[in-house]
């Protein structure tokens, strides 16, 4: 917070007791502002140390770790199954996807196969999660843009309907703890499937209304177009994934690249942006939601009957053979991966998460430089971070 | 003492306060404000003479004050723009240091 305008001393570091001169932070050309960890729009306990020239950002340092919970170390001291509920708490807006990513890694490790019905259920739930996540993100983005909660509450209204479905299926709204190694925990009832299918059919009309309210809004266009550009080369170098990468025009979606689960059976397209600015990142979410609706409709049509668990799967006394596995999938925020190293004991020997939000956050400064404080908040909102995942 | 004399005393004292400020301070903004005060003192005179003068209906004093206010506003705008320009150059606004005609 101190001494922004001062140049380094020409004499280098002087020995002897140094008198720390406390400068009034209100003087000087540059203003250092610590935005967060208690700030309305840092999406949790995230902090940006911002140096401002007027309102223009000349330096931005993201600071995180306020929500560090030792997730990976805890997982190494817990049974494989016991980590499943903890993965809910990584990206708490899309726990179904996170569950699946972890299950994917363990299934690879233990060589389990997943029955067809469970594969479809996983896709249904992952895409519903994508809807939940994107609809939340868009709502929060508009809050950062300065609406008085209206778009956020519309988004939450729809999210609530999906979350209610999760609750009816898994018993919890957000901490679903639904996927199991080799299948899913609960088989949905026909009524549940009918309700979900109805909701998905109604979803496009909500998106249309939402878009007519905001996408063409002149203030929205002025605030987001050309703001926070990210060029594809930079993005690839930094390992950015997910909608943020695709907004920069790079065609990389693990659903197509890896074709995990039954995604190759589905007919969907990957929207790509050309500008890589905040508006493109917003539109990526909207367009992905429309594609997700298509996937969901196809999944509800084709959902087969049958078991939902691999009969080989063991609930108690689960000890995979020694070995390692990396399971990854396209979570709503990007490439979410779990790396597991087994030594044959009930606990993983090494457990590592590749959190997409953390890696997407690394280029925040590049995107924000030269823009104003107001834009920094919006750019942060458009990256879509969840601090549970960033800090782990 | 007549009210006119009181007004004139107010005006002349205000003028002198502005003068002392403009001469004594080295901060350019304050010098500018001192000059503004002197202008205001003159305006007070105009109004006083319009009020107690022989022909208030003509309103010349009022009109003159209006013009003076307009000019003073223009002066303030340009003056403060100059202050900001000076600040950009020498990172302070001490009048004594603004002695170069070239940046």
């Amino acid at each position: 917070m101190i001494g922004t305008g001062s140049a380094p001393s020409p004499f280098g570091q002087l020995s002897g007791p140094t008198v720390r001169k406390v400068k009034d932070p209100f003087h000087g050309d540059l203003l250092e502002v610590s935005m967060g960890p208690q700030h309305p729009s840092t999406h949790g306990v995230f902090r940006m140390d911002v140096t401002l020239d007027g309102e223009v950002i000349v330096k931005l340092k993201p600071v995180f770790g306020y929500l560090h919970r030792n997730h990976e170390k805890i997982a190494e001291n817990t049974s494989y199954l016991g980590s499943m509920p903890y993965t809910d708490r990584l990206d708490y807006l899309s726990s179904m996807s996170t569950n699946w990513a972890y299950a994917l890694a363990v299934e690879k490790l233990a060589g389990l196969t997943v029955p067809d019905r469970a594969q479809y259920l996983r896709i249904i739930l992952a895409e519903l999660t994508r809807l939940v996540n994107h609809v939340c993100l868009v709502g929060f983005l508009f809050n950062d843009l300065g609406t008085s909660f209206t778009p956020l509450l519309y988004a939450f209204r729809e999210r609530e309907k999906i979350i209610d479905l999760f609750e009816a299926l898994s018993g919890s709204r957000m901490m679903c703890n639904y996927q199991r190694f080799g299948g899913c925990r609960v088989d949905p009832t026909p009524e549940w499937l009918a309700a979900a299918s109805r909701l998905v059919d109604n979803f496009p009309s909500f998106l249309d209304e939402y878009e007519s309210m905001l996408t063409g809004n002149e203030i929205m266009l002025a605030r987001t177009q050309g703001v926070g550009r990210l060029d594809p080369k930079h993005a690839i170098n930094a390992g950015i994934t997910g909608p943020v990468l695709r907004a920069s025009g790079v065609n990389y979606d693990l659903r197509k690249v890896d074709g995990y689960g039954f995604y190759p059976r589905f007919d969907f397209r990957i929207p790509l942006g050309d500008h890589g600015d905040t508006y493109d990142r917003y539109m990526m979410r909207i367009l992905e939601m429309r594609e997700s609706v298509k996937i969901l409709q196809q999944a509800f049509r084709e959902l087969p009957a049958g078991p939902i668990m691999d009969p080989k799967a063991k609930l108690r006394g689960f000890r995979p053979k020694p070995g390692e596995a990396y399971g990854r999938l396209e979570s709503p925020k990007g490439e979410l991966g779990f790396y597991l190293l087994s030594d044959g004991s009930p606990n993983p020997y090494r457990y590592r998460v590749r959190p997409p939000s953390l890696i997407n956050l690394t280029l925040l400064e590049e995107m924000c430089l030269g823009h104003t404080v107001a834009d920094a908040v919006v750019i942060l909102g458009s990256i879509d971070i969840v601090l549970g995942e960033v800090d782990r | 003492m007549s009210p006119l004399q009181l007004c004139l005393l107010l005006s002349s004292l205000l003028f002198c306060v502005g003068l002392v400020g403009a001469l004594a301070r080295s901060n350019t903004i304050l010098v500018l404000l001192g000059v503004e005060l002197m202008l205001n003192a003159a305006n007070i005179n105009f109004i006083a003479f319009w009020r107690y003068g022989p022909n208030p209906a003509a309103g010349t004093g009022v009109l003159f004050v209006l013009f003076a206010i307009a000019v003073a506003a223009a002066e303030a705008a340009v003056g403060l723009a100059l202050v900001i320009a000076v600040y950009r150059h020498q990172k302070n606004i001490r009048l004594q240091e603004a002695n170069r005609l070239k940046g």
């Binding site: 050309g226 | 004399q5 107010l10 003068l19 403060l80 001490r94």
Partner: protein
């Protein structure tokens, strides 16, 4: 009647003197606002309503904002100006000069007999009359002032503008 005038005078002179003596520029700017408001009160007292409102609008509403803006934009400056012997001697000289002028003026005012009718009611000048005067006999002055203001505005913008290279991708 005179009591009100004296009160207003004390307000004006006091705030002006304190404003010029203070080291905190924001405080002095705000005190100047008080001083200008006092002058507006004087105009009201003298019956020049229109001028009083114009004074408030322009000085309190506009000039003060510009001054505050300038103070904030030159933020580093107000830590400067230490009370060194140089500035002290300048202050003394200024005080002498100001005092001298004040003495001469006060002497002249008090020494001049002014036989004006003090009891007369305040003359009224409606907005319409002022407008008529402005558009009639003083039309030329009005035009010139308009021109002056425009030129001053443009000049101020040009002087204060930053010569930063135009960023093409900046959202405009």
């Amino acid at each position: 009647m005179n009591l009100a005038l004296i009160l207003i005078s004390v307000l004006i002179l006091g705030s002006a003197a304190v404003a010029l003596a203070l080291r905190n520029l924001i405080h002095s700017a705000l005190l100047f606002v008080g001083c200008w408001a006092g002058i507006a009160a004087f105009y009201l007292w003298a019956g020049a309503e229109f001028v009083a409102f114009a004074q408030v609008l322009i000085y309190v509403g506009a000039v003060s904002m510009v001054v505050l803006f300038a103070v904030l934009l030159t933020r580093q400056s107000d830590a400067a100006e230490p009370m060194n012997p140089d500035s002290f001697s300048r202050f003394m000289r200024a005080l002498v000069a100001g005092g001298g002028v004040a003495g001469i003026l006060v002497g002249a005012i008090l020494g001049t007999p002014m036989d004006v009718s003090t009891a007369g009611p305040a003359p009224t000048l409606t907005v319409k009359e002022i407008g008529g005067q402005l558009m009639g006999p003083h039309a030329a002055a009005l035009l010139i002032v308009g021109l002056l203001l425009t030129v001053a505005l443009l000049g101020a913008v040009v002087i204060a503008a930053v010569d930063r290279p135009e960023k093409s991708e900046d959202a405009s």
